[in-house]
Symmetry: C2
Subunit: 136 residues, 2 copies
DNA sequence: CACTACTTTAGAATCATTATAAAGTAGAAA
DNA sequence: TTTCTACTTTATAATGATTCTAAAGTAGTG
């Protein structure tokens, strides 16, 4: 189970001080059954609702990007004017339902191996992501 | 060959009045050897340099989105804070160089067939696009 | 307990994008 | 050609997300 102690350890083990703001954000993000997608503004609303502490927007930004850097969060390429994040950091692909603007995780087994044949000298592949657009 | 006459016809045939601004923008976008990627700001700079007419930013936005709707342009989602557009409207994949923020087209033959095994009842697949993030 | 480097914060600043509303223009009709 | 109207362009203001700033607060070390 994810409890406060775990979050403190998790944070400390990656060199982030376990401040109360970061722990609150961990709770909001990881103390759930399933992974989920969110924008910064979504998270701000969740925190406002769930948390007794007021956490400033700047801190939410700082924390989300710190978590992204530590690979606790993944940023998703879907949208132009907002950043979407995913608490599912495993390598996976997405369906994007254009009719409803809904983003659906694909399991690894849902997509066959993607074979990138071209190499760019001196560059390393960081990730390979498939976006499948669907509609009614 | 792409000349003014062609652009006028192209525009008119899709219900867009061939204004001098739109024709200038067509020239900037399509009167070239190869397809390319650009942001609105890139295009604004190109137009400032190439075109005698001053074209307002608002018109550039309007025109780019009108062209997108008519399928003259494709919008590319790379998780950045700007919209990228592509004059190559065929379905294709991309490298995104995270070190330089550069977007590189992949040819169809550069990526093996992507096998999407999961189906969503009642939904049709519109496109399958692969984004390969690379860096130094 | 004291110190220092890391954090948080409010608010301002910035940047891309969208909205507004007034002036201009293309195309159709007379 | 002239007139008319709907479509366009434009400058500018407004918006909204994100980043910056610099001052106050705090965790962890010694």
């Amino acid at each position: 189970m994810n409890n406060k102690e775990n979050f403190v350890n998790k944070l400390r083990s990656s060199g982030l001080r376990p401040t109360k703001q970061r722990i609150e954000i961990c709770k909001a993000l990881y103390d759930r059954e399933k992974t989920f997608h969110f924008t910064i503004m979504d998270l701000a609303k969740i925190l406002k609702r769930k948390s007794r502490e007021k956490i400033s927007l700047a801190t939410i930004y700082n924390t989300v990007f710190a978590f992204k850097k530590k690979n606790y969060l993944k940023e998703i390429s879907i949208n132009k004017n907002k950043s979407y994040f995913d608490t599912n950091v495993s390598s996976h692909h997405h369906f994007f339902n254009e009719s409803s603007n809904e983003l659906i995780d694909l399991k690894k087994s849902d997509v066959g191996r993607v074979n990138i044949k071209r190499k760019i000298p001196g560059k390393k592949i960081k990730s390979v992501e498939v976006l499948v657009r669907i509609s009614d």
